[in-house]
């Protein structure tokens, strides 16, 4: 296959990944790496480099829209970014020592977990519990707009959330993904932020986390322009279109389709990883 033809296929595949990722809220980065390695037999390191770049593009590209809605908690974001960037730099340092077959298995497990979470409805939880004393000291508690006006919320489980964010950073660097699922888990489940606050703050953090490891990978030669350019442009275009048509879309069916794709890719990654074929 010529470089031009490969670029065309990668751009189309990435466009689909970005579109479905935005419509389902699962993010496009998750399927870019499996697509590149399983379908086009590209080395895992080049795939991770290209995928991280596309993750930054979608996060920064969507930032203005999220900010306008007024849900992002900047203090929570910055505080947790200390954990995710340290995690990302640690992950990037580790990446050179972990065999690609082990990374493929890890990737498969993360994909399966994501599929499992995506089929469960987001749980409602009370946001007016007494605050974690640490959250008071760090001034993490804030307010957000609801249909019934401005509501205050308090933050729980600060230490555990911080630790989970470190894990999210490590995974982001090792696998070239946004780790949005772990970030939302930490903020939604552990720190008990309102759902809209956790998803938008997560978007705020994904780009910063990915940029930390992308910088390191640039120096290691993981970022190949012939591969990164169609992937970045494809995912970005797909994600922007997805965000635009989100309002009228029937997301339940899309979610099922995307989840099926994720499960198939997960099994394939596990199989290839365990057989050592990647």
């Amino acid at each position: 296959m010529s470089i031009s033809l490969l670029a065309l296929f990668l751009a189309l595949g990435s466009f689909g990944a970005g579109l479905l990722g935005a419509l389902t809220g699962l993010g496009g980065g998750l399927v870019v790496v499996p697509m590149m390695t399983l379908l086009f037999h590209i080395d895992l390191r080049y795939a991770i480099g290209a995928s991280l770049v596309s993750v930054i593009a979608t996060s920064s590209g969507a930032a203005a829209a999220y900010v306008r809605e007024g849900f992002t908690n900047v203090r929570v974001g910055i505080f947790l970014e200390v954990a995710t960037t340290v995690g990302a730099l640690s992950g990037a340092a580790l990446a050179g020592f972990i065999p690609t077959s082990a990374l493929a298995v890890l990737f498969g497990l993360v994909l399966l977990y994501t599929a499992y979470r995506s089929l469960r409805a987001p749980e409602e939880h009370p946001t007016d519990l007494p605050s974690d004393p640490l959250a008071l000291r760090l001034r993490l508690n804030s307010t957000y707009p609801t249909a019934a006006g401005i509501r205050a919320y308090s933050v729980q489980g600060v230490k555990k959330g911080f630790a989970l964010m470190f894990v999210a950073g490590v995974l982001s660097a090792l696998l070239g993904i946004g780790s949005g699922i772990v970030k939302v888990l930490a903020m939604d489940h552990t720190m008990k932020l309102p759902f809209k606050v956790s998803t938008t703050t997560s978007n705020f953090m994904i780009g910063v986390t990915a940029a930390a490891s992308a910088g390191v990978y640039l120096h290691r030669g993981y970022i190949e322009p012939a591969l990164a350019f169609p992937v970045m442009l494809g995912v970005l275009a797909g994600a922007l279109l997805g965000a635009r048509i989100l309002a009228g879309a029937k997301t339940l069916w899309l979610r099922r389709i995307f989840t099926t794709v994720v499960v198939v890719l997960a099994l394939e990654m596990l199989y290839k990883g365990l057989r050592g074929g990647l």
């Binding site: 037999h41 770049v53 203005a64 829209a65 008071l136 401005i150 390191v216 120096h219 030669g221």
Partner: protein, 137 residues
């Protein structure tokens, strides 16, 4: 925007100034991504014109050319018209947008004289620049 009377202690009430700062940051990020994408498109088209007919072989990891691995090397090669370096320059711009966001957030905390978050934001910015400029983890 007014907040309801009853607030748990320690709640940072969002005010319109906060919101305006965030809005400006969000806009700047969008422009940053747009600028990066334009540079990548130009470099990408040149790259395809130059190397598009060659067989693609990325099965084996060989690492990128040394010149395309550092910010200085990329800028130098891009200015001399190397298509691969122009793509790489766009990607460096893209990687720098989150750093710009953190730097602007730092500016906002400085204006608010928020010492704790000035420190926290500086740590994040330092980690980001460390990765991008020195590239060792």
């Amino acid at each position: 925007m007014t907040a309801p009377g009853k607030q748990p202690p320690g709640t940072a009430v969002r005010d319109s100034r906060d919101e305006q700062v965030e809005l400006v940051i969000g806009r700047l990020l969008q422009w940053g991504v747009l600028a990066a994408a334009i540079v990548v498109v130009i470099g990408g088209l040149l790259l395809l014109a130059q190397y598009g007919h060659l067989p693609a072989n990325f099965r084996q990891f060989n690492g990128e050319d040394a010149a395309l691995r550092s910010v200085g090397g990329i800028i130098g090669a891009a200015l001399s018209g190397d298509s691969r370096a122009i793509v790489q320059l766009g990607l460096v711009l893209l990687i720098a947008t989150p750093a710009a966001r953190v730097a602007l957030t730092l500016g906002a905390f400085i204006i608010q004289r928020d010492r704790l978050y000035m420190l926290t934001t500086t740590i994040v910015l330092a980690l980001l620049l460390y990765g991008l400029i020195w590239g060792r983890a």
